[in-house]
Symmetry: C2
């Protein structure tokens, strides 16, 4: 009997990424563009500084299993914390800097950090936060803002580093140890903490190197615009370390001119952000405000977090830039699907699939649970809740009040074979070629006259209209139909609302009963703190209108 393999006990951990960067890619760079100030350092120096930060935190009393929170925009210093905090076995908790102070306080109650690193420009926010008693150390990261140093406890980041050794040796952390915590965006109810392990972090980084997917390479220079406090910056900071790619970080800035300048300066080959950012940039490319030649190094835009329109895909294609539609969740580290063309698709089949979020990355398994509570047969196209499993998928939410720290039991399922599944809350279909079509968020379905209307499907149809920039559909109470859809849109510049005929446009594409009751044009659609469409706010805007009273 030969029970076990005889292979090296090699833990998959963040230290392995640090060693790789240092030994293989010391001359790669990390560039941070803050307002009026650019900083570029080599990865050799980045790793020395990460070692210094690790050693300094350790000397300051941070122990394995302790949480260290960050309240920071995208920067070299944030990246140093990405390596240093898990590198000593502590847990990196990246706090959304756009949240109101009381919400930040609630998140810190969840994780009870012993230390916090904060951008100087965010200290005024932090001052309003009721801080947990666990917090012993606040470190101020200079970011060009004078900051407010009244909080006596705040010590300077560079001063802290100076007390750490650049010869600090990374200990070998168990791969199941906690590595980082991100909170979900919490569009419904309270944000929930996802606790990544070192193992899940490294395996997710590996998945971003696969040829069929993001295909991140040492030849890439990656501009991460998506905030590093959102779902591990979509995983790019760690994946770039594994691949050996240089990185560019735009601090809190996502305006077209800043991004174009940073792409031009660093030779960025890919850049990540939510669609709005790229819609804005595309408009300036088309108008000539930004010379396309400045983006000549850019080959692809992995886009996640919202529906992508064909106009966006076609628009960038004209400039030689490929939009890669991705689907993820904080709970999935976050990438689960990437829109890649499968070899057997005809041009026509692909053109029908390219607006979907794509196919599962190797390592992710999917199933669709029908309303009857059974898994839909593969390729059947039946709609139901999308469930996902894999080595970088969450098994529970952090619940400090539970004895085992595990919460959110109703969002996770165990099948008859004992396998665990995450319920994504998305309603989806999977076609016979493996492409997933997200029909809707379960909570965004509109129940009208005993039928479901998909707000997502309506939104997708609306953004295909050449005059529509962005669209959001909500359900409003209706005395006859129970609920009816109302559409909000923002328009492409110079478009005249009167000429749009959105109802007529939709009527040729969708059943009559699905056409929204009303179309409301807004200058900008409201967004919440995580940059997602704020449907609660839109529902408020529909209130006080007698036609829809219950």
């Amino acid at each position: 009997m030969i029970r076990r393999g005889l292979m090296q006990p090699y833990p998959l951990n963040v230290a392995m990424l640090c060693r790789r960067v240092e030994s293989q890619f010391p001359d790669k760079t990390v560039t941070t563009r803050r307002q009026g100030r650019d900083t570029t350092i080599t990865c050799r120096r980045l790793m020395q500084r990460s070692r210094q930060l690790a050693d300094a935190l350790r000397r300051a009393g941070v122990r394995p299993g302790d949480c260290v929170s960050t309240l920071m925009w995208n920067s070299q210093e944030h990246l140093e914390a990405y390596f240093a905090v898990p590198g000593i076995g502590a847990v990196l908790h990246t706090v959304n800097a756009r949240l109101p102070a009381d919400t930040i306080g609630a998140l810190l109650d969840d994780t009870r950090p012993v230390a916090m690193l904060a951008d100087a420009s965010l200290l005024s926010t932090l001052r309003q936060v009721r801080l947990p008693s666990s917090l012993k150390l606040i470190v101020r990261v200079a970011d060009g803002d004078p900051g407010n140093d009244e909080r006596a406890a705040a010590i300077d980041y560079e001063g802290l580093l100076a007390g750490g050794s650049r010869a600090y040796e990374w200990p070998e952390i168990d791969e199941q140890a906690a590595c980082g915590i991100c909170h979900t965006s919490g569009t419904t109810g309270r944000s929930k903490g996802v606790v990544y392990s070192h193992r899940s972090t490294v395996l997710h980084a590996m998945s971003m190197l696969f040829a069929d997917g993001i295909a991140l390479s040492e030849h890439d220079v990656c501009l991460t615009v998506v905030p590093m406090f959102h779902a591990v910056g979509w995983g790019f900071p760690y994946a770039c370390a594994l691949a050996g790619a240089s990185q560019a970080l735009s601090w809190r800035q996502s305006d077209p001119q800043t991004l174009a300048g940073l792409i031009e300066q660093t030779g960025a080959t890919l850049a990540t952000a939510v669609p709005t950012v790229w819609i804005n940039l595309l408009e300036q490319l088309r108008s000539g405000e930004i010379d396309a030649a400045r983006l000549r190094s850019l080959t692809r835009l992995p886009i996640g977090g919202a529906t992508v329109s064909s106009d966006l895909i076609d628009g960038y294609a004209q400039f030689g830039i490929r939009v890669q539609h991705c689907w993820g969740m904080t709970e999935v580290s976050p990438l689960g699907l990437v829109s890649t063309r499968r070899s057997w698709l005809s041009d026509e089949s692909w053109s029908q699939r390219r607006l979907t979020p794509g196919v599962p990355l190797p390592g992710c398994e999917l199933r669709v649970m029908t309303p009857q509570g059974t898994a839909a047969p593969a390729g059947s196209g039946a709609a139901g809740e999308l469930q996902i499993r894999g080595p970088w998928v969450a098994d529970a939410y952090l619940d400090p009040s539970a004895e085992d720290g595990r919460g959110g039991g109703d969002r996770f399922d165990t099948d008859s074979d004992g396998r665990r599944w995450l319920k994504t809350g998305d309603i989806a279909q999977i076609d016979s070629d493996g492409y997933v079509r997200i029909v809707d968020r379960a909570k965004d379905l509109i129940k009208s006259g005993g039928e479901w209307i998909s707000s997502l499907e309506l939104e997708s149809a609306l953004v295909q209209h050449p005059g529509v920039r962005e669209a959001a559909v909500v359900g409003v109470p209706d005395s006859v139909w129970q609920e009816r859809p109302v559409a909000f849109v923002s328009l492409v510049e110079d478009r005249d609302e009167a000429q749009l005929d959105l109802a007529g446009y939709l009527a040729s594409r969708l059943p009559r009963w699905q056409i929204p009751e009303r179309f409301i044009v807004l200058q900008e659609l409201p967004r919440n703190n995580t940059g997602k469409l704020d449907k609660a706010r839109l529902r408020e805007l529909t209130r006080g209108d007698g036609r829809h009273g219950g």
Copy 2:
């Protein structure tokens, strides 16, 4: 304190590959070309048959931890065993079909299989093997050879399958469980068994999908010529499953016409074999015996197992085919290095590096131990023994006589941080760009007058000569210098030995004292059972020559 991540307990195992193939790529194919017979099946069918084989083996009494040996050439049935045997938690032991019967018997004594699958054409070999008492079941795989069915115990493979259910459900195997065993080629001393785990197998497969490396994609069709009994067929059978690539298998055949036909028929995009196979094919491409148009689908040739010449690289480049030089060992699952061009290299720098086996795959760490017993500083270029660690590197050899089953202690090292390293036995240098140069096998160094002469360096220099097809250098005893090099070469067709002036050619490239004493031209260089140059035989050929007597 947050000690552990809250991610799914998702084991990395072969069942995960099976589920992926079945759910995502059912219409991909596996084609086997035997003499006079082609078989193509879909992956849907392949997986049904693998389930049947798994269930049938289970019903026949094969239990988790039991070993099942194969004595087979490359075929669909061998691939089915690759999935079915580890799929039930048993251990797949792939036996080199070219070994003599007594050696095969010794290997089986190591693993003590309960069952064996053998090609009909290999039953005559098997009949000469002293079989271990553990073996209860011999299964005959029809391969066009009448075979010899005298051995009463041999039952038919298709008959066995018929008794298994195609609805068999893969159990969830622990990722640390043994998955497969390959024996090293044993050029020195006895072959040693490497016991792969499910985890190491899956992680190695993942590494073959990385964009910087093999970059295996669902768009690929992979022709595996390297025998599936050698180092897991270099890892391609499992990596193709993870990527979703179709596979082509050439049974025991590696002649140019068979390969060209199979490439043409299946649209193979990459093909794997040792250099000799590709040297032969290139000669027929150049002579026009094989029309290059037949290989139009082929984009790259991952080559391992021996030094690659610039003539081979340039020769295939003329036909639009890229040679990817790889370095591996049975102990490394087997790939550790792949020759990829790093982004910062000039054309000239790259042309100097492309003959090296390349740079470490993400996940593999290297160090060079100098004769002084210390690790050479990174980028120093100092020569010493190459050591490697990573999640798919062996930690011990199988030793059934040891209580814990672990042997080969002297080939493995533990550093001061408790990290494990495999001693490769290769003498190497690592340059400042990360490229590894294998200077020699430790045992192939020639000690001459107190200096080391690298037989590998001499061989590399010789195969750069336009008239030389293959070269091998051995050391022979010398009364003055202790040892002196003797070179054996085979020539490119139609080349006249008299015009070569190999000594003069080398003299312009190497120090005078390194020039071999003699150059011996052979029609073909002798090879051992694993296809490697048989240096023991070459040393024999040099004996009885007074000039070199001790």
